[in-house]
């Protein structure tokens, strides 16, 4: 949005409102498109996370398990590091090769993991975790 305002400042006052409105409209469309794209990537990543079996060891929200796989979310590894571990794991996880999971699909999975919010509660606020 900041870029839109910068551009609109260069325009004549008479056309400013119209231009600004047009610019903002285009910008909104662009943002929504980006949002849709992002949302689509997250949804796609979520679907892949479940379908490709990541969730079997790491949990459906990437919470991890002490028995089968570490926590992946929230705050997953940066994408590059994430891809590195995916292709060349150091743990028991078998490698996900590019023929099985493309970089684009892996990126969508990463987008899903990055979209997962941190827990809203702390352990000390949950009665069942304080016995």
């Amino acid at each position: 949005m900041r870029a839109v305002f910068c551009r609109s400042n260069l325009l004549h006052m008479g056309t400013c409102i119209l231009t600004t409105c047009l610019s903002m409209t285009l910008a909104n469309v662009s943002t929504r498109a980006q949002d849709v794209t992002k949302r689509s990537a997250i949804d796609h990543g979520h679907a892949l996370f479940l379908a490709d079996g990541c969730s079997e060891c790491h949990g459906t929200v990437g919470q991890g398990s002490r028995a089968s796989g570490p926590r992946l979310a929230p705050q997953p590894l940066p994408l590059e590091a994430f891809l590195q571990v995916l292709r060349h794991p150091i743990s028991e996880m078998p490698p996900y090769v590019v023929e099985v999971l493309s970089d684009a699909d892996a990126g969508d999975i990463h987008a899903y993991l990055a979209s997962i919010a941190a827990p809203t509660q702390k352990a000390q606020d949950i009665g069942a975790l304080n016995r």
Partner: protein, 663 residues
Amino acid sequence: LENGVGTVPYTPARVGTMAKDAEPDLARRSLLKGSAVAGIAALTPATSATADTALSPAAPPRPNALPNRVAETAVPAPLEVLTEGRSGSDFMVDCIKSLGFDYIAATPGSSFRGLHESLINYGENKSPEFVTCTHEEVSAAMAHGYAKAAGKPLAIITHGTVGLQHASMALYNAWCDRAPVYVIVGNIADAEMRRPGIEWNHSAQDEASIVRDFVKWDDAPASLQHFADSAIRAYQIAITPPTLPVLVVADGPLQEDPIPPDQTLHIPQLGRLAPPQGEIAAVEETARLLVTAENPVLLPDRLARSQAAVDNLIVLAELLQCAVVDVGGRMNFPTRHRLNQSARGRSVIGQADVILALEVNDLFGTLNSYRDQVHRTSRPRIASGAKIISLTAQDLYIKSNYQDFQHFQPVNLAMAADAEATLPSLIEAVRKLLSTSETDKFKARGDKLAAAQATALAQARSDAVYGWDATPISTARLCAELWQQIASEDFALVSPTSQVSYWPKHLWNFEKAYQFLGDGGGMGIGYCAPASVGAALANKSLGRLSVALQPDGDLIMTIGALWTAAHHNIPLLTVVHNNRAFHQELMHVQRLANRHMRGIDRCHIGTTLREPFIDFAKVAQGMGVRAEGPITEPGDLGPAIARAIKVVKAGEPALVDVVTQGR
């Protein structure tokens, strides 16, 4: 023939073919009813004559003629011979009672019908009480769980061949888990005594061969006195460490026929058993190594058979102020004790300079990391130069075929002895070596460990928050919600914890040996449900609240155990961890699909329990168990568990089916 008369203890069906024996035999058996005597006596003249002829020196021998031809072709009396006195199976019941069994679990089978009848009538179905099971695997696994909870064996009876085959996997689990299970199996050794057809199918030359690789000792007694001796011997062998399953065959005719009145029988007494302790010089050397170490670690696995082991391990750890990493084959050490370092076991083991392994089954797997890949690799977790001491009764008894003895781990000192029995002398040896300066040094070490323990507990609680509100319900929440409701009870977790990511070990406060019993030993699926019922049976009279975190794949294999729980009013709370899959196997297939670079989107085939989902609540209700579910919303879980606990406290089993995350 004379010898035969003198030693064969039962002959009722043979009177037609051994006529000369019939009269003295019947005379001895005043217990036979008159009608039977009359019926048999009607055959006597002909057979006697034949016998006389055969034995007469005046009669010339006839080539190719058998002396007892008439006797051998005569038709036996078509009359039931009734027993008025005691049968052989009555005596067998006396032997069983002498061993103090509270229960005897079985699925009925004709090869032990005599023993069955004697148990419920002659024995009045008390001490032991007959526990009806829907499958021999259930009987054997119940005995496995019972033995660990009660600290003594439960007897089971299995049908010949097929019944023992059914029981075999559960016996293998008990073998691997060092649990004493007392097996009696029916058989008809004498082919002439078998009815055509089914009794041949259910008899074997060597019945015990079906399971001999994983029972400690077996016998097939040929007489009642032999049975008595073997029954007591088997019990003694079973409960002497290493505690393991044993088997005694109860021969069919031996069970069913009357005890001859002139037969003298006695039941040997079981004496006090002293388990084998470690050799004293080795114990003293172990104490010296532990006291002089910078970072000694105690590593118990299947150590505690009783609370005494837990208490002694606490004493030893506190004397040394050293780390304890509980491998988890039993509840060996309180989970919230300041020295319990199990949650960070790998790093603690990596820093150790002396490790004392106490009844550790897989020492190699505990001290090394191992990668499941095409090129298998392993790497030591222990520091170079660390001294390893092994103290286990497993070294006293081992067999070759089944590989449950695990990868060989070289050690510096191997004590073949019972660890629980050796702990008191090890404590004394350590005490003798301690000085004030060492005590001060140890205190500083203990304080560091205590801080690490507190951090580990906080970390576990923090980790459990992730996915707290997820659907399916997280295993962390499953375990935490259950713990919240039983924390103030005298509880016993009678199931393993590996399927629920070991959360109870991290979140629950275990203090007593009976509060956790370890896993299924051989990891044969179908252990948890019946073993939990067996353990709950042991806990019933002690007023303990038995709870099981029950995997769904395991439950569907031996679900008949629920009926036994309902039928015998065995209070047990079963919380089903229903991830709707044989989930471990699902992960294995995924691993191989990835290794073969074929994608893992088809790995649900053959591994999942979908289409339809199993409605465990309905199945349980159909077996008479109060049940509800499937619980899918995290918020519904706590109230459902609370309702189920009320049922269990009233003395009945209850089940809550919870749809959960995979792990």
